[in-house]
Symmetry: C2
Subunit: 155 residues, 2 copies
């Protein structure tokens, strides 16, 4: 077997995320879905991607519980793809990707849009990582701990 390696059984949560949304198109589809796109044709024309690839990606994300098929919305007999809570939960990942470009892109003048606070119209701050008690954490303030073994039964 020479299949593309799967991270499905991997214990690393980053690898597990990539398994679901780590391809070229999924995150862009989710970005458009967060903007309100729902129909196959909308995704296809907005993203300009091949229909067969779109078809595969949509099905995969439905299987992963990121999108769900909804029966209608405008009364027609067609279906729509709507984000589940898991799908909407991708939002911080998109913000992180966006901010990385905004900060480090070599051609920032090519970036078309900036994410702003709707109330003030001012750019949002960089994502912050905080401790339970509210302290702002830097990468060096964190570490990885083995997940505590959850007893499988018995209360």
């Amino acid at each position: 077997m020479v299949k593309r390696t799967s991270f499905e059984g991997d214990g690393c949560p980053i690898a597990r995320s990539l398994e679901a949304i780590g391809d070229w198109w999924s995150l862009l589809i989710i970005r458009e879905a967060l903007f309100g796109l729902r129909r196959f044709g909308e995704f296809q024309s907005k993203l300009g991607m091949a229909k067969n690839i779109l078809s595969v990606r949509l099905r995969s994300m439905v299987d992963h519980g990121i999108l769900a098929l909804a029966p209608a919305s405008d009364g027609s007999a067609y279906q729509e793809y709507v984000l589940t809570p898991k799908g909407r939960g991708v939002y911080p990942i998109l913000v992180a990707l966006r901010q990385w470009s905004e900060e480090f892109d070599e051609h920032p003048e090519q970036i078309a849009t900036i994410l702003v606070d709707r109330a003030k119209g001012r750019p949002v701050k960089k994502l912050e990582m905080r401790a339970e008690d509210g302290r702002l954490l830097s990468p060096a303030d964190t570490m990885l701990k083995p997940r505590p073994a959850s007893r499988r039964r018995s209360a």
Copy 2:
């Protein structure tokens, strides 16, 4: 031309990020680099990936300014791959991916590690998005604004 579509000229900063690190392996390589790995063989054996693929990815990330080639470190004549500031800036993206798995993964019992506050050993909070004035923002509190045209010269 039937090449894989490139997002290089795209105005969307998310697409531009994906252009650089949106493939199956780059983010995992950066994750290991953040843990201190530097040598070709270290990445190869830790990630278990094919050497030719690793070679291509490392070169690509060097070209993108994410990694830099450093002449040594232990005195040997070999080279090392070290993260640039741009590379270390990927950290929030990895945290976001990790937290997405921690929150939504269908088999959370398979997740091996959790990210904790080093001082207290307690899990870190979810990444927070704040306005310039410190208000906590939800996705609905934000919007996209066209990037202000930067005058090209003259002061």
